[in-house]
């Protein structure tokens, strides 16, 4: 989230699209209710199903799964055509005026530089025209046809309400009502918030769904304001934190990058990451990259990371592929190229698409380690459960270790919520039996591996045996010890950059924030964006002061929010170019002319003395402004484009020859497993129920009673056509597998007319398996394709093709 849960109460308009907060995030949805009740805010819900969020919406618009970009580009087109643009914001704070290279273009669904054989682009034309100083050229009048504004205007012009209706199946009048309501928030004192979740990310163009809304929010001037922003709801309690800490193959903590094969030396690695400003006077804050990187290396390897060895640069592995994400991991496993796998929680047997492939892949492992508080399906993938897990254990040679772990109630530590609050929690009970914390298990795996290498030697032991491990009990670090390390500390005295003789931080002290980090090895910090969370003042994450100055909804002394305890990021953009709030009633910060600095309710997202008019609000960007057009930063294009899901009931209306996202990765064999509309005429989508959380709560007796068994949901029209009665049994199958379930026939899903034909949508909830207290059932991954988003590789769970037929009820 750019903003935070409690801030939703400050909005004028909530758009829930790509999520279902009322059911999946009920206690957060309360702030939508507050905004409606207390300030007359409106709620728009765009969803294939009439969800419980939709049931309290002012406007509900149905949409075909996987067509959100067409819808959103349609709204952008509407706003531009009707001059519903927050012009001073767009002109000052976005790259609308910057000029793009002449070679860049777009035609028939593809941008310049497409290579069909590689399924990738040569992106060399995707950049600005640079002047002699290396700055991007601009035309502030927005008349130059090569400026971003005119490219955007041309790009979205095709997305008329008629085309939106044809692609999305959203009736034109509904679409126009939504577009008009959204467009009203272009007024400087009207603000809209976007709430989305996996309904947007789990598509082969998931990242571009979000880009499309971000562009719209920028045109309306809604980023950086109270009640505005782009707000990813996030499905799990610490997905934000695990990503912040960098637990992804391509990341270092704090959104730095793991080196790649082409970056042989530290100098070559840093050369690509100098982040020189692209406009005069701009901060381009990642210019400090080396400080964060060296401090991270010092946290990892302590005294073994020195200037002489490039701060142990070679101790980090280098990536030879774009990403070893979970799909690639399972594909490698399927090919027999992976020997061991460790699941720290997670439940991939039910979470990774194409379950048949997942089972075959796990069966080829030499060993599997599963750490979990609960008895998961993954840990028992080798066990026969009849039709629910039809395997022969005798044919599976995988050694499986099941490690019992503690749960939240039995451990200390911090979790980062969607609003970037890093909240500390305390152990309130003791673990059952011999269950141990994940922290203990990981420490044991490291220390035992280290002992083996010390005793026996082996392949390049240095990074293991020299790993900095400064814990009192090496076999059992405490959460507090690690939290201090993540925050960072001074190794030697840290000197004042303005006065090299003046010490600003003594050796051994906790750093107060990331501004104290240095690139000379005098500081260490596990994750630079978490600097400030555990300082000399103590554990800032444990703060519990719920006062709210100005009734702003920010609660600045409740826990710690990264970065720098900032509650609303880009908050500089809540003021106009001169530093005055766009809306006095929504003040967050403002420029104090007398004191010559920024101040207010929140930590300013700009240098405190940066003069308004000179330094622009988007300080992480080299341009200093927000990007309507993102240069070469996305694999599938600088603007979003409508692409159909890989399995779609209709051809792409813009470019009929393109299947799916033209640069999304397809592994050998998976393309052949994609289904066709002739064989699989219905669209299916996965979703959560309010009574369940993923595959955990089927172990909880209360929730297992509330929603005891797997079902699929279909509309009355399809049920009638296929002679399926409510509560009767059906078989649902895709090119990759089948499930058997009770049919729940509802009015919540209605056929959509797309390209002149009715499209039926079937809902597949995701909470059942073969362990726990609920009845045995299936998950959507028995059906879904093994393909992901072109940028993040998030699997396409939200739009795929199936067929359905009635079957007799199983014998009881």
């Amino acid at each position: 989230m750019t903003n935070l849960w409690t801030d939703i109460r400050n909005t004028d308009l909530v758009v829930i699209m790509g999520g279902n907060a009322a059911e999946a995030h009920p206690c957060g949805f309360k702030w939508v209710t507050e905004a409606k009740a207390n300030r007359g805010a409106k709620l728009i819900v765009v969803d294939p199903r009439f969800t419980r969020s939709a049931s309290v919406a002012d406007i509900y618009a149905p949409i075909r799964p996987g067509t959100d970009i067409a819808f959103l580009l349609g709204v952008i087109n509407y706003c531009i055509a009707n001059d519903k643009v927050q012009w001073p914001y767009v002109k000052s704070f976005t790259n609308a005026a910057l000029l793009v290279k002449d070679g860049f273009g777009y035609k028939d669904g593809l941008f310049s530089g497409y290579d069909e054989a590689k399924r990738d682009y040569d992106k060399s034309s995707w950049d600005y025209q640079l002047d002699k100083q290396g700055f991007a050229a601009a035309d502030d009048t927005l008349k130059n046809p090569r400026c971003v504004w005119n490219l955007l205007k041309t790009h979205v012009a095709a997305y008329t309400p008629e085309l939106v209706e044809r692609i999305c199946g959203t009736p034109k009048d509904k679409f126009l009502k939504v577009a008009q309501t959204i467009a009203e928030t272009s007024a400087p004192d009207k603000v809209m918030t976007s709430m989305y979740a996996l309904g947007w990310t789990q598509h082969s163009k998931g990242s571009q769904n979000i880009r499309a809304m971000a562009i719209l929010q920028l045109l309306l001037g809604n980023i950086g304001l109270r009640g505005g922003g782009m707000n990813a709801l996030r499905g799990h309690s610490n997905i934000q934190g695990l990503t912040d800490i960098g637990l992804m193959s391509n990341l270092l903590p704090g959104y730095m990058a793991i080196p790649r094969d082409g970056e042989a030396t530290l100098a070559a690695y840093l050369e690509k990451r100098t982040f020189k400003p692209l406009r005069p006077n701009q901060m381009s804050y990642f210019q400090n990259y080396k400080k964060f990187f060296v401090s991270f290396q010092k946290a990892m390897w302590g005294p073994a990371a020195t200037a002489a060895n490039d701060f142990a640069y070679d101790y980090l592995p280098k990536l030879d592929v774009p990403n070893y994400d979970v799909l690639r991991a399972f594909d490698l496993m399927y090919q027999g190229k992976l020997n061991g796998y460790v699941c720290q929680g997670f439940n991939p047997l039910l979470s990774v698409p194409n379950r048949k492939k997942v089972t075959a892949a796990l069966s080829k492992l030499k060993f599997l380690v599963v750490m979990d508080p609960l008895d998961t399906e993954t840990a028992r993938f080798w066990e026969n459960h009849g039709e629910f897990n039809d395997v022969d254990p005798a044919k599976i040679d995988t050694e499986v270790f099941q490690f019992p772990t503690t749960c939240f109630a039995e451990e200390d530590g911090s979790l980062t919520n969607s609003g970037r609050w890093i909240q500390w929690h305390w152990s309130g009970a003791d673990a059952p039996g011999e269950a141990r914390s994940d922290l203990w298990i990981m420490a044991q795996l490291h220390t035992r591996l280290k002992d083996l290498y010390l005793k026996e030697g082996g392949a390049f032991p240095d990074p293991i045996v020299k790993l900095h491990w400064p814990y009192k009990d090496p076999g059992s670090p405490t959460a507090e010890e690690v939290a201090r390390e993540v925050n960072g500390y001074a190794i030697g005295p840290v000197m004042d950059p303005a006065d090299p003789k003046k010490i600003i931080l003594e050796a051994g002290k906790q750093v107060p924030g990331f501004a104290a980090l240095r690139d000379d090895g005098s500081t260490a910090s596990g994750c630079w964006i978490y600097a400030g969370s555990f300082t000399e003042a103590g554990n800032i994450m444990a703060r519990r002061d719920n006062t709210d100055p100005g009734d702003a909804g920010l609660y600045p002394k409740w826990t710690f929010a990264w970065p720098a305890n900032r509650r609303i990021i880009y908050n500089r953009a809540s003021c106009d170019i001169n530093g005055k709030p766009w809306d006095e009633k929504r003040k967050i910060i403002e420029w104090d002319d007398k004191a010559q600095k920024w101040a207010g309710y929140d930590v300013p997202d700009i240098a405190p003395t940066a003069k308004p008019g000179e330094v622009m609000p988007f300080i992480m960007n080299q341009e200093g402004v927000a990007r309507l057009w993102v240069r070469d930063l996305m694999r599938d294009g600088p603007f979003p484009v409508h692409y159909e899901p890989f399995e779609s009931p209709v051809a792409n209306a813009m470019a009929p020859d393109i299947r799916g996202n033209p640069v999304a990765r397809l592994f050998a064999g998976d393309k052949e497993q994609l289904g066709d509309v002739k064989e699989f005429p219905y669209v299916a989508t996965s979703y959560r129920l309010t009574e369940h959380f993923h595959f955990w709560t089927k172990h909880v007796s209360v929730n297992a009673v509330l929603q005891p068994e797997f079902f699929v949901e279909l509309g009355e029209a399809l049920a009638k056509e296929k002679h399926i009665a409510n509560g009767s049994w059906v078989r649902l199958w895709s090119k990759r597998g089948e499930v058997r379930a009770k049919a729940v026939v509802t009015k919540r899903i209605k056929p959509l007319i797309c390209d002149g034909k009715p499209v039926h949508v079937i809902g597949v909830p995701l909470h059942w398996g073969f362990t726990g207290a609920a009845k045995k059932g299936y998950g959507p991954n028995s059906l879904t394709p093994f393909v992901g988003d072109a940028n993040t590789d998030t699997p396409e769970f939200k739009a795929f093709l199936v067929n359905i037929e009635p079957i007799p009820a199983p014998a009881v």
């Binding site: 995030h25 206690c27 996996l198 990310t201 499905g235 799990h236 309690s237 695990l242 912040d244 193959s249 082409g262 990892m300 101790y315 592995p317 280098k318 030879d320 994400d325 979970v326 690639r328 991991a329 992976l338 061991g340 720290q344 929680g345 991939p348 979470s351 979990d372 008895d375 026969n384 005798a394 040679d397 995988t398 050694e399 499986v400 099941q402 019992p404 939240f408 109630a409 530590g413 969607s418 305390w426 309130g428 059952p432 994940d438 298990i441 990981m442 420490a443 044991q444 035992r448 082996g458 390049f460 690690v482 719920n546 009574e691 369940h692 955990w696 909880v700 007796s701 929730n703 509330l706």
Partner: protein, 199 residues
């Protein structure tokens, strides 16, 4: 003084206050005392309270855990009740149908209590000791890493990667677990690393 006053003491205090004032003033003093004797003590008054947050979605509602102290339960603190934290700015004491049933998650019959091992081709798990299991796993790590570690690629660039064993971090472990996991995996050269952000 007020700062030191625990919720438990507060409950005890108010209870005594009611008996001694309002009801007493109506002349029911003796009846009230006898009645109070016959009621078992308020269960939560004997518990230890701890602040925590819900482990499910990322709203991260505040919760209060109530546990029977270790000395009353064979040396282990035992959870008796979980409720929403009214001081928490986001949920203000409310919980959803999942959070409201958290106690049954912590005490689920399918909670694991012992390390277990399933050998190749077998139809059952058997219980094993932590020492045995951790030693066996680290031995498997080392064998695989020593056999398949790639020190340099074909171009001669140092790459120091281990890409034949993968690690999948979850969704609800702490940031502190995450960082120690990061240290463990990357120091071994691990590149196959992901978390549950995508699903």
């Amino acid at each position: 003084m007020l700062d030191d006053l625990s919720r438990r003491q507060f409950l005890k205090g108010t209870g005594a206050g009611i008996a001694g004032s309002a009801l007493g003033a109506f002349g029911f003093g003796d009846v009230e005392a006898a009645h109070a004797e016959s009621i078992r003590p308020f269960k939560l008054a004997r518990t230890v309270e701890t602040r925590n947050t819900c482990p499910y979605c990322a709203v991260a509602c505040g919760v209060i855990l109530y546990a029977k102290p270790a000395e009353e339960n064979a040396g282990k603190r035992k959870l008796l009740h979980i409720e929403g934290d009214p001081d928490h700015p986001t949920n203000r004491g409310t919980l959803c149908p999942k959070g409201a049933a958290l106690l049954d998650f912590v005490r689920a019959p399918t909670r694991l209590t012992k390390p277990r091992y399933r050998a190749a081709g077998q139809t059952d798990f058997k219980e094993v000791s932590w020492d045995w299991a951790l030693d066996r796993v680290t031995r498997l790590f080392k064998e695989d890493r020593d056999r398949n570690f790639i020190a340099a690629n074909k171009a001669g660039v140092t790459v120091n990667r281990w890409n034949t064993t993968g690690f999948l971090a979850a969704s609800a472990t702490t940031n502190e677990t995450a960082f120690v996991t990061y240290k463990m995996v990357r120091s071994a050269g691990g590149v196959i690393l992901d978390n549950q952000a995508r699903v």
